[in-house]
């Protein structure tokens, strides 16, 4: 039952529009710093573009997808009209205003600090205020998800919360708490300096605050993808979810262990001691657990679909899968990229191995493969699956959809594999220019060229995606019926309270954050003499 289709469509369209712009900037960046690009006489333009690309892809695009998808889940899984529609629109407009407010200083070159902020570099105050508005807008969504679930519970006392909604609300709580780290950094440290009220800032403390957000935000991006794995894919390919409770446990694990691990981003930093670095490294290993469980459950669910379609044999069933179904294709691509990206991630979080690739192009390759690849390809699949229900029109050209998914997959592999390789060779991140004439850098030229070509394959695929959705707005009308989610093989009538509520897990998430972050933050905040003068961007 999708009532507020306009609201959901507005979120998706804004998400994909800004995605298109940021994707174009990304492709340009790949080109301009590669050997096939000509030397950019003003490198500052590169950093403007990089700030815009990161800010949109990191904060605006995935947040809007999660929000739009969240509203769709709330209405269709709970079969209940969205409560608080006006608030939802308010949240949407806050994101629009925040994005515009942030993008103007970026375009003027007054906020080229990258989406990771990097104080004591300080940009124009409106950039930071814009980001804050985007986050506040998304917090309205968090509150609405909670309220809607509460309303539903009152009407259905004791009933199991549908898996999609259970996971969706877990994701929203994760985001609410994750964003607090960057919010503290912005409100307590950066904005007072950017507004001219102070002129010194503790860069070490800011890095620790940001690490609180930086890692768990990845799991917020991941949530819609995992929800699609569990609750859309099995239905779309004619299968069943292998286990409902294992799915709930996976989402709970993300909620609890995604948070207290962010300091693996600061292994190479001088402001955190080795003890907390090790604790965070060990907790990061734990976060592999929900993914390993998910890989099992989804493969098993897919196998069920294949066997229901007549698949036989130990591996022979793979042939029986509906490979012409875009959802099947997207899932397979997503899993391949998740596998490679996950393996790379284990290296990044490793207490010892991190030093060999820290802040090299390996890292950029890694998160593009995981986020741009494994996660975003499922965003495409979600949009394709939901579109007929939102527009009341059919997406006719399935072949074009398949081509688009193939191109995204190929483009992502061609872009990120050489990217990882030059990282191992020690190529640093975030540089507008490389002197490929230097004999020590020349061996990287070929790999960087491949990455740039991959960037344009991705751009082509991204444009196709937007064209397919736009054409879908004018296609012949169709009655898509109610939007449904996959059901489990053994759908039990009751679910243990712990797997049907969030309170215990949210409490555990907060406690673990305090144990893993409390001491380092207090230590840095109370230790005097480490505040340093701010360096204002564009003031030199």
């Amino acid at each position: 039952m999708l009532v507020n289709r306009k609201l959901i469509l507005a979120h998706f369209w804004l998400a994909f529009a800004v995605f298109g712009v940021a994707l174009t900037l990304g492709a340009w960046q790949m080109f301009i710093r590669s050997p096939i690009g000509t030397w950019l006489s003003n490198p500052e333009l590169y950093y403007r573009s990089l700030t815009a690309h990161g800010t949109v892809m990191g904060y605006v695009f995935p947040t809007l997808v999660a929000m739009g998808f969240g509203y769709a889940i709330s209405e269709s899984a709970l079969e209940q009209r969205l409560v608080g529609v006006r608030w939802a629109w308010a949240g949407f407009w806050l994101i629009v205003i925040g994005s515009i407010m942030a993008v103007i200083p970026i375009a003027l070159g007054r906020a080229s600090v990258l989406y990771t902020f990097y104080p004591p570099l300080i940009g124009n105050v409106f950039y930071y205020l814009g980001v804050v508005l985007v986050v506040v807008g998304s917090w309205i969504w968090v509150a609405l998800m909670s309220v809607n679930l509460r309303v539903w519970r009152k009407a259905h006392p004791g009933a199991p919360v549908p898996l999609a909604m259970y996971a969706n609300v877990a994701g929203s709580y994760l985001w609410a708490w994750t964003a607090v780290g960057a919010a503290l950094e912005l409100l307590l440290q950066i904005i007072p300096v950017a507004a001219g009220l102070k002129n010194t800032i503790d860069a070490g403390l800011a890095r620790v605050f940001f690490s609180w957000t930086l890692h768990a935000i990845v799991y917020f991006w991941l949530m819609p993808t995992y929800i699609a794995y569990y609750t859309i894919v099995p239905r779309a390919i004619g299968g069943l979810v292998y286990s409902d409770s294992m799915a709930r446990i996976s989402f709970i694990l993300f909620l609890v262990v995604a948070m207290p691990i962010g300091m693996h981003h600061t292994f190479a930093d001088p402001q955190v001691g080795a003890g907390f670095k090790f604790i965070h490294s060990a907790f990061t290993a734990l976060v592999a657990l929900p993914t390993l469980l998910t890989v099992f459950t989804i493969c098993a669910s897919v196998e069920i679909a294949a066997r229901l379609r007549g698949g036989r044999g130990l591996f022979g069933w793979i042939r029986a899968l509906p490979w012409d179904n875009p959802m099947m294709l997207a899932l397979a691509f997503s899993f391949v990229m998740l596998g490679f990206g996950g393996a790379g991630g284990l290296i990044n979080m490793s207490y010892q191995l991190d030093a060999s690739i820290h802040n090299t192009q390996w890292i950029t390759g890694h998160f593009h493969l995981i986020f741009g690849g494994a996660i975003v390809i499922m965003y495409f699949a979600i949009a394709y699956d939901l579109w007929p229900h939102l527009t009341g029109r059919e997406l006719i050209d399935v072949r074009l959809i398949r081509t688009q998914l193939w191109l995204w997959f190929i483009g992502m592999i061609v872009t990120t594999f050489p990217w990882h390789w030059v990282g191992i060779l020690g190529m640093p991140r975030r540089m507008a220019y490389f002197d490929f004439g230097d004999p020590a850098i020349a061996p990287q030229a070929l790999s960087v060229t491949f990455s740039a070509i991959g960037g344009f394959i991705l751009l082509t695929s991204g444009i196709m995606f937007i064209v397919i959705l736009a054409r879908g707005m004018r296609a012949p009308r169709v009655d898509a019926g109610p939007y449904r989610f996959a059901i489990a093989v053994h759908q039990s009538k009751t679910v243990p309270v712990a797997l049907n509520t969030h309170a215990l897990w949210v409490a555990l998430m907060i406690v673990l954050t305090i144990t893993n972050y409390g001491y380092p933050i207090l230590n840095l905040a109370l230790g005097a003499g480490t505040s340093v003068p701010a360096v204002y961007v564009g003031a030199q």
Partner: protein, 187 residues
């Protein structure tokens, strides 16, 4: 499917799932133990201690004054290298060190966040203003290594490349005889 069969299949499903969960837990615990073992036994770990410094005064006094930057041969035969990063260069821009010698790199930033990465090695650390970074290193091969700044430090970041020159141990000892702080800037 009779209800008895259904019951049995639920049990089979749960058993397979439990087995996989156990394997996953073993993998995770194994990884953490491996990291702990390598950290303790091989003493390979990120920088353990936190040291602070005031970037607005480093040029006036303390270990990072200009005359103290560069490489110095310590009495025990080890080498200490002191360096700073600032927008958009390292001082010294060319670091000279001996091969096959334990070296301690001590560095900090004079302004914004920078990073030091020596290509072809595992030497890789952040330079955060207000804090001192320390890295232990040892080169087995002589030659030139590129040392880019690996963290965005504003508009000139792409031009911030230093160099490390690893020379023969005896050559280094000869050059160190005169005392002072060594570097290969201008050579």
């Amino acid at each position: 499917m009779s209800s008895e069969e259904a019951h049995r299949s639920v049990e089979v499903a749960a058993r397979v799932e439990r087995r996989w969960a156990a394997i996953a837990v073993i993998i995770v615990v194994g990884m953490a133990l491996l990291a702990a073992f390598a950290g303790i036994h091989r003493a390979t770990m990120p920088q353990p201690r936190v040291e602070t410094t005031d970037p607005s005064r480093i040029h006036l006094s303390g270990e990072f004054v200009e005359s103290n930057l560069g490489s110095v041969l310590e009495a025990n035969g080890n080498v200490t290298v002191r360096a700073i990063g600032q927008q958009y260069s390292f001082t010294p821009a060319c670091i000279v060190v001996p091969a096959d010698t334990p070296i301690t790199l001590r560095a900090t930033s004079a302004d914004v966040v920078h990073g030091i990465l020596i290509q072809g090695t595992n030497v890789n650390t952040m330079l955060v203003p207000g804090y001192i970074s320390e890295q232990l290193m040892r080169f087995t091969k002589t030659g030139d290594y590129l040392m880019p700044c690996q963290e965005f430090c504003s508009f000139g970041h792409e031009g911030m490349w230093g160099k490390v020159k690893v020379i023969d141990k005896t050559d280094f000892a000869d050059r160190a005889k005169g005392g002072g702080r060594l570097s290969c800037v201008g050579q």
